[in-house]
Symmetry: C2
Subunit: 408 residues, 2 copies
Amino acid sequence: MSTASASASSTSTPPPRGFPVEEFETRTANAQKAMAERRIDAMLLTTEPEVRYFTGFQTLFWLSPTRPWFLVIPASGKPVAVIPSIGDSLMSSTWIDDVRVWSSPNPADDGVSLLIETLREVAGDSAIIGSPMGPETHIRMPAVDFDHVRGQVGASWVDTTDIVSGLRMVKSENEIAKVAHICSVVSDAFEGLPDLISMGDTEQQAFAKFRIDLLQRGADDVPYLVGSTGPGGFDDIIKAPTARVIGDGDLLLFDTGSVYDGYFSDFDRNFAFGSADDEAKRAYDIVWRATEAGFAAVRPGATTSDLWTAMMQVIDPTVASAAATGAGDTGKNAVGRMGHGLGMQVTEWPSNTQTDGTVLQEGMVLTLEPAMTWAPGKMMVHEENLVVRADGAEWLSRRAAPELPVLG
Amino acid sequence: MSTASASASSTSTPPPRGFPVEEFETRTANAQKAMAERRIDAMLLTTEPEVRYFTGFQTLFWLSPTRPWFLVIPASGKPVAVIPSIGDSLMSSTWIDDVRVWSSPNPADDGVSLLIETLREVAGDSAIIGSPMGPETHIRMPAVDFDHVRGQVGASWVDTTDIVSGLRMVKSENEIAKVAHICSVVSDAFEGLPDLISMGDTEQQAFAKFRIDLLQRGADDVPYLVGSTGPGGFDDIIKAPTARVIGDGDLLLFDTGSVYDGYFSDFDRNFAFGSADDEAKRAYDIVWRATEAGFAAVRPGATTSDLWTAMMQVIDPTVASAAATGAGDTGKNAVGRMGHGLGMQVTEWPSNTQTDGTVLQEGMVLTLEPAMTWAPGKMMVHEENLVVRADGAEWLSRRAAPELPVLG
């Protein structure tokens, strides 16, 4: 039964689940160091990835919008959890010691007074309190309650998006191993897709088959699966599947964010059925080569904007040149960027845009996602995943075929 | 091929996807009527179910936290969408005419100025602007941006949670048909579970098998699946599955929110493996009978608190009596309530609690979810789904076995 081998086509061995306690200690210490530099006395976190990052608390229960969950990072010491009692058992099984609970839902006071009391105790009355309130964040509690808390405690509230994004953008080897594993599972599935999906399937049937295949190959879940089919192409790349039947001459795009142990893959593949016209093949070739160019530009010290420029030089050299002369934001496509960070969420900071300018560091996990509109109403999007290493990029997804695959 | 029949054990026929335009017109008109009563000039919506409810815009793309999405309900006329250009094609395919887009992500101005301009145009400079800011809601945009928008436009901002919840709590027949269908699919899967999962499976294997089975039976997705196994019971009912092997004497709980066309089921089943002790059987019997009592109490005009009382009288008559004399909030379990609304989200308003007091109306879809701690560290939770009809409740889930099933 030696089916598992080191060959490129076999599924990788799943890495261990969870993290050693030291990893949460390091994350917390790094946050506290950044907080100290800005004299922040406590940081309030309210969303699933923020709470999971510092605690290891992992549950799908977040899908229920009813109950708010809070984590308070003090200036020193372990984080303090202020959560609904339904999470007591699970949170108490993490490295967190101080778990304060209330019986939720309680619309009259859904953890608000317990949170205020905790912030006062941890940070004092005239504290500077931080919370991620900037790009790609939101506060996951009723706005009325957040306004009330801000009015009751803290001399000032500051945006700490940069602290959280700065930490989360650079992945540990344990995190990278989880992303690498799910990327390998999805690569297997994409390579097997020609035997799975055929003309005559509806979009809905094709989506269902692919989702089931991903689970059978070892994905924990497939929270993100979007795509399109269309005669010769399509311009909507985020819609739910329809009853449309895949036919001769169609293009198909599948883009999935699948999950292993709370970490995502996020890449896509394009296929043609029966035949493909030369324009579509040419568009595929351009975004494929743009991805190569983006990959070649990756090194610590380069920026996300360097990756954007490298890809744009393949897609449209005129736009890339205009951008280099500071001609403002140019070359925008409907996607709005050409790749992004990846990890605990299907998209994370940073963005590969003309102006983002985030400096790449070892351990950053990114997607490259060049897109182009190659004919009216026809868009081609390609996406791969990589990790930034000392000497350049390392693929996490297994590279797509260099020419548009034509099936059936 | 007459495999489809009206028998209780066959999967129901999937109802049509989507909604007729009239349904969106009615939802919008009803919101505008409620807004007019409170002199609200415009309502800002930012979350997936809120935007989908008024537009039909359905995509998993919301999973990406990067881009905010806005919908403005004016005092009259169709809603106005203010969204990233990646959603232009899909939003333009809905009944919405006025779709305003910007190229996102753009951290310097991620739709903020376009939103402010739209609100000013739609509602005027000294407007009263509403947004859901109360229980079970959040604002899905950076808090810094929301603060800025509130400072730039609107004489006052008011909480409109009641308007949105009031509409969404009462389902149309089209909505009920979607919930009924996914409940039937999940009922089939739970009835087939004894042939699917056995001692020797790990929790992770059992979860994977069940998730795949649900998809094969016609669920679009299984966004919510939590559960536990343990020797004779467990106290954590929301955790992710582990490598623990299911053995003789274990109890197993599976609780799933599966989806058809954007509408959820949410119910659970308990099973014993090999054997079950009398205490566990007794706990199962109590929560099963509590569910019957809750079901019998459902009628238009009764309240969610009446359902709580009916269930509590079976679980603990002393607590139910104390509650009847106004002895404050009593009989709390870790779950915090005994059921809730259900529809576009796995949990919605209202809550079946002692004090919630929401008056039941025809068309409300609810879960009944009595829970009890029957021994230290041992919890039993049961859950079914129903719709409120003129003459009482109608099951949407197929009723669980009256005695704890013992498998293997």
